[in-house]
């Protein structure tokens, strides 16, 4: 079992009360480290020629998926993007099945039919990464509509990038969600780059969150490199949505540390710019600094998590390498559902 769930506690009781439960803090860290290591490994494997297709890394944006999803239950829904590994892990997906999928193996989540851009786990409400920029908004709106009509109390979260904020689907989805007061939260990951094009050259407003006013919903800007800031903002929006308050828009400001895809020559920016961002805005470093300085977690506890994740990733890679490819007889499997008339 390689799901990144809360592990058993080996922590001694402390005399002070931290702002967050230590087990919760470990869960946040475990998931952020898992995303970082998974994607670093994916990049390495791709460059070594082991992965087909193309791969978009979530490195540097971990705090957003993890901070948001820490507010969700297993039955809540998320829709994701082409840069979706982080959303999967944050929602509780299994590392080994994700790894097998990006290798194109039949043991993967999608039996090798999807790959890096199309990982989904419907059993935990992860309605799929999406190869179409801006393709996820309306799926989230529909899932929220289903939740509202069936009065299940579920919430849907739609992750999307700054580039996607300029798709027409943004407008149609936010308006429909607002006019129907649907339990959906739109989480913008403003990583400053739409593929190779800088944010400010494509978007007239400084903050995408400003657009929320046009749909009659609250819009909030948060530091996307601070998992606690993201967690708190998402908590407010998700609780409000769950109680029938309608949709909200959160803009999490971050920076895309890696290229648009693995192998991107990155002719459009300098290495110095990336290094500078990484030095001051790495969400993992931010987390470690904050929890150790406050005495919420000890260095050994963090190191134990790092070691645990390293093991999980290494095992997932070994298993994925050894797993079989799909058989040619599986080409048509899953195209149509068989139960024509029920």
């Amino acid at each position: 079992m390689s799901t990144i769930a809360a592990g058993p506690s080996d922590r001694e009781e402390k005399a002070f009360a931290p702002a967050y439960d230590p087990e919760f803090l470990k869960l946040l860290y475990r998931r952020m480290v898992a995303i970082r290591r998974f994607d670093e490994k994916a990049g390495e494997l791709f460059l070594a020629g082991e992965l087909p297709g193309f791969v978009h890394l979530y490195v540097g944006e971990e705090a957003i998926a993890v901070g948001v999803c820490a507010n969700l239950t297993e039955t809540d829904y998320i829709t994701s993007t082409h840069r979706g590994h982080g959303h999967c892990i944050a929602k509780g997906a299994q590392i080994d099945r994700m790894m097998a999928e990006i290798f194109g193996k039949r043991t993967g989540y999608c039996k090798g039919k999807g790959g890096s851009m199309h990982i989904a786990d419907f059993s935990i409400g992860m309605l799929g990464a999406n190869g179409v920029v801006g393709g996820g908004y309306n799926l989230a709106v529909g899932a929220a509509l289903a939740a509202k009509m069936r009065k299940t109390g579920q919430v849907a979260v739609c992750f999307f990038g700054d580039g996607a904020s300029n798709r027409g689907t943004f407008h149609e989805a936010l308006n429909m969600a607002a006019v129907w007061k649907l339990p959906v939260v739109f989480v913008n990951e403003n990583n400053q780059w739409a593929s190779t094009t800088p944010y400010q050259t494509t978007t007239a407003v400084r903050d995408i969150a400003d657009r929320a006013a046009g749909y009659g919903m609250p819009g909030t800007v948060v530091d996307g490199n601070n998992v606690f800031a993201v967690y708190e903002a998402a908590k407010a929006a998700i609780e409000r949505a769950r109680l029938g308050g309608g949709p909200a828009l959160i803009e999490a400001k971050t920076y895309r540390i890696k290229g648009h895809f693995v192998g991107d020559p990155e002719m459009y920016r300098t290495k110095a710019e990336v290094q500078e961002q990484l030095a001051k805005n790495d969400p993992l470093k931010n987390f470690v600094k904050q929890v150790t300085e406050a005495g919420w977690l000890r260095q050994e506890e963090l190191e134990a998590i790092q070691a645990e994740i390293a093991g999980v990733i290494a095992q997932a890679v070994d298993e994925a390498r050894q797993a079989p490819y799909p058989e040619s007889s599986e080409l048509y499997a899953g195209l149509y559902a068989q139960s024509e008339v029920r």
């Binding site: 179409v132 899953g334 149509y336 024509e340």
Partner: protein, 324 residues
């Protein structure tokens, strides 16, 4: 059997399926308060309420996309496109999302959605409100496409579409809404993927669907008077194509004519002609002929619009060319 209109038949199918399964709901533009631009939804809001019969903003990507999302979350939405021409606005939702989601996620989910799309020429609606676009979707794996020609099939295919766990595009010709015909009461289901032999004959096979079935049957009447017995096949489903029914008829008649209102180039007729040519050219005694609209947008003026419509006389002439 009692006779009702095509429109009433679809209404009956909707009401029966919504009563049977509370996951079924309907959304689209002008459907609840107005009852649909062709009256095809009249009475449903009174019976099922505005939660389940939802008027939407003019937002085609959201209508279809949210339909797909709701289907993924356990509902069985029926969405209305107003006019098939507007499906173009939401092609990503239809082609990249609705059609792909089940397969690309390894069969983890089903996408039980029905997309209803009134199509075809009526009263000089001109270039952007008159098209027949069914062939586009035959080209997309993952979709099912049905297209009834009469009230009984309208009911039976709609009920089957709603119960299908696959995404189904349901094309309904605007002229057909007023057509009256016998329709079985209660659970009348027409299977998806099965064509129907509407008239038996031995001399030529005419394959058609939707409104053009009336033209094909009228032509068959006339041909019979002239001593040519045409077998007329109503496809009813465009995808998956019922090859078996077409092939066995052509094996018998050795001649094939395909008739549709859509543009001939790249149309459903092209696919059928290609499959017959590939699989059974040795059976054919004459070239396959296709009748479809010329390669031009639908013009407004009645004087021009009539030039792009296929008539029974066109069908008779074409059949005679290959039979006589």
């Amino acid at each position: 059997m009692r006779e009702i209109t095509f429109s009433e038949a679809t209404l009956e199918a909707m009401a029966e399926e919504m009563t049977r399964d509370d996951r079924v709901f309907l959304m689209g533009e002008d459907i609840a308060r107005q009852g649909g631009i062709f009256g095809q939804f009249k009475g449903l809001p009174q019976q099922f309420g505005l939660e389940r019969i939802r008027d939407t903003p003019i937002s085609e990507t959201a209508i279809i996309g949210a339909g797909v999302g709701a289907a993924l979350a356990g509902m069985r939405p029926v969405v209305d496109m107003h006019f098939v021409d507007f499906i173009t606005i939401a092609m990503d939702e239809v082609v990249n999302q609705m059609a792909k989601i089940r397969y690309m996620f390894g069969g983890q989910c089903t996408v039980p959605i029905v997309l209803r799309a009134p199509d075809g020429m009526v009263r000089s609606a001109a270039a952007q409100h008159s098209q027949s676009l069914e062939a586009w979707f035959l080209h997309v794996p993952g979709l099912q496409v049905v297209i009834p020609s009469n009230p009984a099939d309208a009911k039976g295919l709609l009920k089957s579409a709603i119960r299908s766990d696959n995404p189904v595009l349901y094309f309904e010709h605007k002229v057909l809404f007023k057509m009256k015909g016998p329709v079985p009461e209660g659970d009348h289901l027409v299977p998806i993927g099965k064509a129907k032999i509407s008239r038996s004959g031995k001399d030529v096979t005419i394959v058609s669907y939707s409104l053009m079935m009336q033209v094909a049957l009228e032509a068959a009447e006339e041909l019979a008077k002239q001593g040519i017995e045409a077998e007329v096949i109503d496809l009813r489903t465009i995808s998956p194509l019922d090859e078996e029914t077409i092939f066995s008829s052509v094996r018998k008649t050795k001649r094939l004519v395909i008739v549709h209102e859509a543009v001939k180039t790249g149309g459903v007729g092209a696919e059928i002609a290609a499959r017959v040519a590939e699989e059974m050219i040795d059976y054919l005694d004459a070239p396959i002929r296709r009748l479809g609209a010329p390669f031009v947008p639908i013009p407004f003026s009645p004087a021009l619009e009539k030039l792009v419509k296929i008539s029974a006389a066109d069908v008779v002439r074409t059949v005679r060319e290959i039979c006589c």
